[in-house]
Symmetry: C3
Subunit: 189 residues, 3 copies
């Protein structure tokens, strides 16, 4: 009996190891909701209104029959499609150095309230970040926060997936918007 005990102990150790490993395997398939990467950025949208061609970072390029491409349409801008190329900054100052560009479009898609559909990318080409993050989703912009999907990434963000929580950090009339993007990646490669 006493002669077998070291081996029995080893087997016990092995079994514990196995069960621990098995549990780890299960937790992978249950996808714990801890982000593998967290990033915060601000981006700044200045819509062209016929008078601000020099500063504008976005422009209306599609409008419904009752609208035009210079002024956002009535009925909560329903049908207006806006293309943007906005500077991305690390803090909430429009004049901070841009670390990348937020490029894509949004479409106001409801008559009753302000809400939009977003398709865009963060494009980075700095010492800190190189590559892109791609986003898509609904943006009910009167809500304090709204979640859109990170649908992919390239370069430093190769194959990323996650959620970006957007919030309107500041705005001036219907010309300037500053958005804060809290990005949580749940799939990192």
């Amino acid at each position: 009996m006493s002669r077998k005990s070291p081996i029995t102990n080893l087997l016990f150790f092995l079994l514990i190891f196995l069960f621990a490993f098995s549990a780890a395997g299960k937790s992978r398939s249950h996808h714990p909701r801890r982000p593998c990467r967290h990033l915060v950025f601000y981006f700044h949208d200045i819509i062209y209104n016929g008078e601000n061609a020099e500063n504008a970072t976005s422009a209306i390029v599609g409008a419904p029959a009752w609208g035009n491409t210079t002024i956002l349409a009535g009925q909560n801008h329903f049908g207006d499609m806006v293309v943007f190329d906005d500077p991305i900054t690390m803090d909430n100052n429009l004049h901070s150095p841009a670390v990348g560009r937020a490029q894509g479009f949004y479409i106001y898609d409801r008559k009753e309230i302000f809400t939009a559909w977003l398709g865009f990318s963060f494009v980075f080409n700095s010492t800190e970040h190189r590559g892109s993050l791609n986003f898509a989703g609904a943006d009910p912009l009167m809500n304090k926060t709204r979640d859109v999907s990170v649908i992919g990434g390239t370069g430093d963000f190769f194959m990323a997936r996650g959620i970006a929580t957007l919030s309107t950090d500041s705005f001036e009339g219907e010309v300037y918007f500053r958005l804060r993007a809290d990005i949580n990646l749940y799939e990192c490669w």
Copy 2:
């Protein structure tokens, strides 16, 4: 010999356990095609045609040089871009209570036949579902069914991925369309 057998048995048990676990690991990487969640919804699209402003849930906002934003263009509407905010219902009745909104856009993208490209979200804010599902893909709308990708989700549909099979359940002229969406999620968190 006989003295070693209980330990040998234990080792056998361990080996079998290991191989079983190893097989389970492999099946995870083989991604079985059983959906982890199945949902069926209907959504209802009423295109603005210059006369139905009150009921319309969508509008043409982009058109090619040979078209306009009031009437769908010739050549199978090639180039027409439509923005929509359609009610989602649980059954095929337009007047059933809406459980959410289908919001986004489609673009007719072929001269020879009706086919479109879709980017949209299902936005839920009811007792049953809260959150959103995001979709993208080609919609060859003359086919009985067509598959688009579920590219992400938020809230109750956190990080979802899958396939939505769309079918035209009913239509009236070129104004009313009812689509059935059979959603199968293969990645659930």
Copy 3:
């Protein structure tokens, strides 16, 4: 001592096996960057310019206030939205048999340089491939290569994810573009 050695050896073997397996488990979560599928295609874009209606495979459908839908706008086409239905070929010859259609849109989204945002699908319906691949991302088209995300797939490409590296293989003025797509899938089902 010598009597225990065969069992000790077996235990050693088991431990080595366990660590090897454990390492394999970890590499799954580290996601090795070896593609599970590699595909190369070419697609051909001929933009409508008011005179080439018969050959054109794409058309401007959205334009900023300072542009129109017949000629690409100034300021690096900022704000122009183009819808396309381009033939896909296996080699770089426009007249090779099409194995599918590249369908979707791009939006020029920067005033200072040529860059665009892409949302599109490859739609296959041939003996070789059946199904679709969906793409989204930024296309800084003056770069030799640029990566966009494969955000999903259907049919033969069920649930695919990956990266498509685009390069401009050839162009003629502002009317004809030939793009090469090097597709690497990293998630295959």
